[in-house]
Amino acid sequence: MATTVKGTRDGGATAGAPAGRRSPGTVVVVGGSVAALLAAVLAGIWVGALPLPPGAVLATLADRALSPLGIDVPGGLTGTEAAVLLELRLPRVVLAALVGAGLAIAGGSYQGVFRNPLADPYLLGAAAGAGLGATLVIAYAPGVTVAGVGVVPLAAFAGALAGVGGALALGAAAGSNNATLLLAGVAVAAFLAAAQTLVQQQNSEDLQKVYGWLLGQLGSAQWSDIRLVLPYLVLASAVLLLCARPLDVLAVGDDEARSLGVHPTRVRLLVIAAASLATASAVAVSGLIGFVGLVVPHIVRRLVGGSHVRLLPVCLVGGGAFLVLSDVIARVVLAPAELPLGVVTAFIGAPFFAGLLWARGRRG
C-alpha cells in the first residue's frame, strides 16, 4: 500500500520540491495513515459477537458492487452475516471514520487559527451548545422524529452551531482577535453548560440517557446518520483543505499575515465556521468524543511538520483511523458490554498526549 502511494507521489506532487522536505516521511505518513485507516476499517467490521472475517467481507462487498454487471464473486457471507455487515458493522465503522476525520481536521484547524496547541474542536462552545440541545430534547421531546431522523442529532447540531455562533458574535463585538474570541467562547460555553446542568437536574429521570449521550457513542449508528452528516462534513472538510495555505500565512501573526496580503479576520472566521460545521456534524451523531481533535493533529504535526498543506489532509485520514480503532477497543474490552467511546479515546489519548509533552520538553 505504502509503496504504491510512494511510487505515484514521487512521480507527481513531490517532484515540485527538488530540495525535499525536512520530514522525509511525508509520503510514507500519507501512505501509512491510509493503510492504517483501511486496516482499522477491516478490523472494525471483523470484531464483534459474530466475527466477520475480512476475506469474506471483501468478497461480499465485491459481489454487491459487481452484481449489476452480472459478475458473481464467490466466498461471501451468509444471509445473516451479510445483514450484520450491511446494517450494523458497516454503518458503524463508516460513521466512526467520518466523525474521527471531522473532529481531527477541525482540531488541527482550530489549533492553527488560534496559534494555540491546546485548542480543540469544542473550544468555542460547540460541546456545551450540543449538550444543551441534546439534553433539552431528551428531557422534553423524547422519541420525536423529523423526516425520519431522530430529533436528538438535529438538536445537538443546532446547539453546537448556536454555541459557536454566540461566541463569534460576542467576540466580533469585541474585535475578533484571538484573545477576545477565546474569552467569548469561555463565557458562552460556561453559560450553556450551566443551562444544560439546570435542565438535567430538573429531569433527573433522564440523567442516564443524557449522560450516555454526553460520553459519546456509535452503538446506534445507521445509514441515516451518515446521510445526515456526510454533506456537511464534506463541505466543511473541503473548505478547511482549501484554507490550508491561508492558515500557514496566519501562523506568522495577524499583522504579518495582513502585510502578506491575507485578511486575518476573514480567514479566521471562515476557518472557524467550517471547523465548527464539521464539529457540529460529528457531535450530532456521536455525542461528545474528546481528545480526537487534540491528539490526532499533534501526532500528525510531529510526523509531517507544521504546514497545514500537509497537516490537514493527514489529519482527515488519521482521525478516521484513530476513531475506528478506538471504537473497536470500546467494543472488545468489556464484551459483550460496550465502553463509552469518549472514555476510550480519553484513555488512549491522555497518556499519549502526556508522552508527547514529555518528549517535547526533553527536546527543549
Binding site: D248, A251, G253, R258
Partner: protein
C-alpha cells in the same frame, strides 16, 4: 550572484517615494499620534527614533494599514490608504519587532510565505516563486539553513529569515520595526549592513524604527524624532541627534560624537 541580483532587480520595480500626510492614530480613546508628516525618498532610509511610548511602532503599523488611522499614506503620490491588503502587500513589506515564528516550519517554507501576495491565495508555489525565494535566500546566506526548522535557528539567523521573507515579497517599501531588538551588537550591525546594501542595490525605500541612537545615526540617512506622538525633529542624523534634543526629549545626558558615517551617541553618567 550577479544573476541573482540582476534577476531580483529586474523583477522588483525599485523603491517608491513614501509620504505620510497628517497621520493620526489612537489606542482606544487615547490619541498616540498627532498629525505626523514624513517623506522618504525612493531608496532612502528614514529611521524613526524616540523615547519609549512615543508611538514609533504604532506609526509603522499605521503605515502598514494594520492600525486604524486618520490622514493619508501615499506611495509615489498614489494613496495607499484604502487599497486592498493584497495590492498593498505587493508594495510594502513588514518585519515586526517580535516576529511570530511558527513551529514545525522550515526556513524555506517560511521565506516562501513572502510570495503569498503575488500568487492566487489557494495556489501552490510556481516556478517564479521558487526562483525568487532561492535568490533571496542566497543573498541572505540562508542556503545552508533552508531545511532547518525556523525555531532552531539562532537569533541572528531568524532575523535574516524574517528579512528574507519580507524581500521575497519584492516590495518597494520595507517597514522594519526594531530590526535589531533581539540581537547583540555584532549581529545588529550585520543585519543593518544587509538592509543598507539591499536598499542601495535594489533601491528599496526603508522606514524603520530604531531605539539604538548610534545605530540609527550610523545607518539611516534621515531621522525623525517622535515625542508623545509628534515629530519634533526631522532631518539628517547630525541635525536631529544633538545633546540638547537628547536632554529635552529623552531626559538623557549624552555626548554626540561625529563619525564618518554619522553621529554616535555616548551616554554619560551624571554627577553624584
Amino acid at each position: 550572484m550577479t544573476g541573482a541580483t540582476g534577476a531580483t532587480g529586474a523583477t522588483a520595480p525599485g523603491g517608491a517615494r513614501l509620504e505620510v500626510l497628517g497621520l493620526g492614530a489612537a489606542h482606544g480613546r487615547t490619541a498616540v499620534l498627532h498629525d505626523v508628516r514624513l517623506t522618504v525618498d525612493p531608496g532612502g532610509w528614514l529611521a524613526v527614533i524616540g523615547p519609549n511610548g512615543s508611538g514609533k511602532s504604532t506609526l509603522l503599523r499605521s503605515v502598514l494599514g494594520a492600525h486604524p488611522h486618520s490622514g493619508q499614506v501615499r506611495l509615489d503620490g498614489a494613496p495607499l490608504t484604502g487599497t486592498g491588503v493584497r495590492a498593498r502587500a505587493r508594495q510594502v513589506a513588514y518585519a515586526p519587532q517580535q516576529p511570530v515564528l511558527p513551529e514545525g516550519l522550515t526556513t524555506r517554507d517560511y521565506v516562501s510565505l513572502g510570495r503569498t501576495p503575488h500568487r492566487a491565495l489557494l495556489s501552490a508555489p510556481r516556478a517564479v516563486d521558487r526562483r525568487v525565494v532561492a535568490e533571496v535566500m542566497g543573498r541572505l546566506e540562508l542556503d545552508g539553513l533552508a531545511e532547518r526548522l525556523l525555531t532552531t535557528l539562532s537569533g541572528g539567523e531568524q532575523q535574516r529569515a524574517v528579512l528574507a521573507r519580507a524581500l521575497a515579497q519584492q516590495p518597494r517599501v520595507l517597514l522594519l520595526d526594531e530590526p535589531t531588538a533581539a540581537l547583540d551588537l555584532g549581529h545588529a550591525q550585520q543585519v543593518l549592513d544587509l538592509v543598507d546594501s539591499l536598499r542601495r542595490q535594489d533601491g528599496i525605500t526603508v522606514l524603520s524604527t530604531l531605539h539604538d541612537l548610534t545605530l540609527a545615526g550610523q545607518y539611516a540617512d534621515r531621522l525623525a524624532l517622535l515625542s508623545a506622538g509628534r515629530v519634533v525633529a526631522e532631518g539628517p542624523p547630525a541635525d536631529v541627534l544633538t545633546p540638547a534634543a537628547l536632554q529635552r526629549y529623552y531626559g538623557a545626558r549624552a555626548h554626540v560624537v561625529a563619525g564618518p558615517h554619522g553621529p554616535a551617541v555616548l551616554p554619560l553618567r551624571g554627577p553624584g
